[in-house]
């Protein structure tokens, strides 16, 4: 769906993107991760043709990115807003027309969406008279009104209350089921693990990891095991800080150069091994670890 090759962009002396390659397959939810200022917004703006890159290529559906592709993308920026004095209906119509829909098409689509999200009664209200959650729904519909095959959502959940965030999350999954490719830029990792098929992480203008969630998780394994011992035969070494609960001791241990079997053998000498499980890091931990390691390296 989207292919990016050796993309570079700098603002004066500041590099915003350095040789970034990305490959987003069709019909996936793609998580674009990275701390603030990493270059995510710059990358998204280039895909949306808001700014030009210094060098590198962007392909959309196999074609080099061009102005005619504007209608293929739905973009919900992190910094977003609506005309406060405009009515819901007029506003949606305006955004839909700007994306190239004919007035007839636009009206039918808006009507369907308003019905779907139970908002018909709001259509003649001005944005300033709506609650924040309602305004956000209007914003979301405006983003997807033209059925874009590629949807770019920059921090889509920021500012949403939990109820509306849930509605939006379900809409995203529904769109994905219909074949829409979604790029989700966020630093909220719980939504990444829940929604994304693929991720890429950007830090300090460079892409540092990408792949499926499973692949990314396999890159960074801290090799720490969670252990529970019962029927203790002898005293545990003092450096194993453990928690005792009715005779069973729980603690974590790193491999420290041993193989898992060697560690298991050692543990068996102290008692009955009830639990021996590798700790898989969450995306959050990977994120923090990767950011730190690129900053130190």
């Amino acid at each position: 769906m989207l292919k990016i090759k050796k993309l570079n962009k700098s603002y004066g002396a500041n590099k915003a993107l350095t040789d970034v390659d990305l490959n987003v397959s069709e019909g996936v939810v793609f998580g674009l991760l990275g701390p603030n200022g990493a270059g995510k917004t710059t990358l998204i703006r280039i895909i949306n043709q808001i700014i030009d890159s210094d060098s590198g290529e962007v392909y959309i559906g196999g074609e080099l990115l061009a102005p005619k592709h504007i209608g293929l993308i739905g973009y919900l920026p992190e910094e977003r807003g609506l005309y406060k004095k405009m009515k819901v209906w007029d506003q949606m119509l305006y955004f839909a027309r700007l994306k190239g829909l004919s007035p007839q098409e636009a009206k039918i689509k808006i009507k369907n969406w308003l019905e779907k999200l139970e908002m018909e009664t709001w259509k003649d209200k001005k944005i300033e008279d709506l609650s924040k959650g309602m305004a956000q729904k209007v914003q979301f519909i405006s983003t997807i009104i033209h059925n874009p095959p590629l949807l770019i959502l920059d921090e889509p959940f920021s500012g949403f209350d939990p109820v509306n965030a849930e509605i939006i999350k379900n809409e995203i999954l529904e769109l994905k089921a219909k074949g829409t490719t979604v790029i989700l830029s966020t630093h909220r990792m719980e939504s990444v693990e829940l929604l994304c098929d693929q991720v890429a992480m950007i830090n300090r203008s460079k892409k540092i990891i990408d792949g499926t969630i499973k692949q990314v998780k396999s890159i960074y394994r801290p090799e720490v095991y969670s252990i529970t011992l019962d029927q203790i035969k002898r005293d545990l070494p003092t450096e194993w800080i453990s928690k005792e609960d009715e005779g069973s001791y729980s603690f974590t241990l790193p491999l420290s150069g041993k193989t898992p079997n060697e560690l298991l053998n050692e543990l068996m000498q102290y008692g009955e091994v009830n639990r021996f499980q590798e700790l898989i890091p969450s995306m959050e931990e990977i994120f923090i670890h990767q950011v730190k390691s690129t900053e130190n390296g």
Binding site: I50, I70, E79, R80, L82, K84, Y94, F95
Partner: protein
């Protein structure tokens, strides 16, 4: 192009639909005459209510008698100047006019004492009266009866006629030309300021409410800027049109009510100069009719529309650029100066140079330089401007607004995406130089 049209439509409809637009459009033609009416009324009331001011006159020549007016009464009570000064100090007299003994051929040393500075009108009233008295006295002394002078006084009025190369004669009147230039210049000045500000506010609104990032993902910033400028121009033209119709109807109603000749009738007469000529014997009304008939309305209207739009586009782009560079209207102040100064120069130039001497070198330059020409040229057009000057001025204005729009576009496309930074002139210059 379709997208610019959408933006134009939105900007236009959003503004025209507002209640405030309707209110301003309908009330302004009523408010200005109303304010003027109130001023006149207050002035009249004030004149009526003012206490009579008594001025003591000490005339050492025993020659002058000043007639009292509604505001000032003159008292001649044969006291000396020290006593008179005392009267002023005590507040018994508003002022004291001292006329020392002087040679009638060279009157010197006349002075006015008062507790406060006398107004201009009082001083000139006194001066005129004394001058008249002295002149009469001198005429009398040379043996001429002042009555004869009054009898031989004649009124002379010059009818000025412009003669063009083909020999067509047109009656002109500096006052009428002045009035046309004056009104047209002020209208353009106000329009640029009011609607330029609306552009700026609109841009700041889109920027600060973060709509702009969504918009620029659908169309080019330049399209957005141009659409806004043109849409707001449409609002202004609509307003102007409504005003013309309203003022026309109002004048017709008022003059009709006052039993005067209806302007429409005049207009019909104007359309037919021969008829106007036959009507216009030697009366002053006839002269003015003749002048009105001689004005090239088509040229004036066309130039007005051209400079109206040209000036607006030139400055509108700059206002858009300022709006894009700042986060809030209060930050815009620092960039307003370079925009307001040429406008004020043009406005002052209109009164000081152009209307008084439309063909002077200063007037020429003011009406040719694009930043001042929209206002200054309108002051000249009604007097008649050589074709090449008009063409040069219009050409330069077109070049001017293409240039400002280009510069503004460069600032705008970067500015609208910048938040939280207060740009300086240096950063603006950097933006202009950046190629995306």
């Amino acid at each position: 192009m379709d997208k610019i049209w959408l933006v134009i439509q939105r900007e236009y409809v959003a503004r025209v639909k507002k209640k405030s637009f309707l209110l301003v459009t309908l009330l302004t033609p009523l408010i200005f005459p109303a304010i003027m009416g109130i001023f006149v009324w207050i002035a009249l009331e004030e004149d009526d209510n003012q206490a009579l001011r008594i001025i003591e006159v000490v005339d050492d020549n025993k020659l002058f008698f000043l007639e009292s007016s509604e505001q000032y009464a003159f008292s001649f009570s044969d006291i000396n100047s020290d006593e008179a000064k005392k009267l002023v100090q005590d507040g018994d007299r508003y002022g004291f006019l001292h006329i020392p003994k002087f040679d009638i051929k060279d009157p010197q040393g006349i002075s006015f004492y008062g507790e406060e500075n006398p107004s201009m009108s009082l001083v000139s009233y006194l001066e005129n009266n004394l001058r008249k008295k002295i002149e009469e006295q001198r005429l009398f002394e040379s043996g001429i009866d002042p009555k004869i002078i009054n009898e031989v006084r004649t009124k002379v009025a010059i009818k000025s006629i412009t003669l063009d190369e083909e020999g067509t004669e047109t009656v002109s009147n500096a006052t009428v030309n002045y009035a046309i230039g004056f009104v047209a210049g002020i209208l353009i000045y106000m329009f640029i300021f009011i609607y330029g500000n609306q552009i700026m506010q609109g841009v700041i609104e889109e920027k600060s409410s973060r709509i702009v990032e969504i918009l620029v993902s659908s169309l080019k910033p330049f399209q957005l800027m141009l659409g806004k400028i043109i849409g707001i121009a449409g609002v202004g033209l609509t307003q102007l049109l409504i005003w013309i119709v309203l003022v026309g109807t109002l004048t017709t109603l008022v003059t009709g009510f006052l039993g005067m000749q209806m302007p429409q009738q005049q207009a019909m007469e104007m359309a037919n100069p021969e008829l106007a000529q036959s009507m216009a014997q030697n009366s002053e009304m006839g002269d003015i009719l003749l002048v009105l008939a001689g004005i090239n309305y088509v040229q004036i209207t066309l130039s007005f529309v051209f400079y109206f739009l040209g000036g607006y586009l030139l400055y509108g782009a700059l206002f858009a650029a300022i709006g894009s560079a700042v986060d809030a209207p209060s930050d815009a102040q620092q960039f307003m100066l370079p925009v307001t100064i040429p406008l004020i120069v043009a406005y002052m130039g209109l009164f000081v140079f152009v209307l008084n001497d439309p063909t002077s070198t200063t007037s020429f330059w003011l009406s040719v330089v694009p930043l001042t020409s929209p206002i200054a040229m309108m002051g000249r057009v009604s007097y008649g401007v050589p074709f090449w000057e008009l063409a040069l001025s219009m050409g330069l204005l077109i070049v001017g607004f293409l240039f400002t729009t280009w510069v503004a576009g460069k600032i705008y496309r970067i500015g609208i995406l910048m938040h939280g930074t207060k740009p300086s002139y240096k950063t603006l210059w950097k933006w202009i130089k950046t190629n995306n």
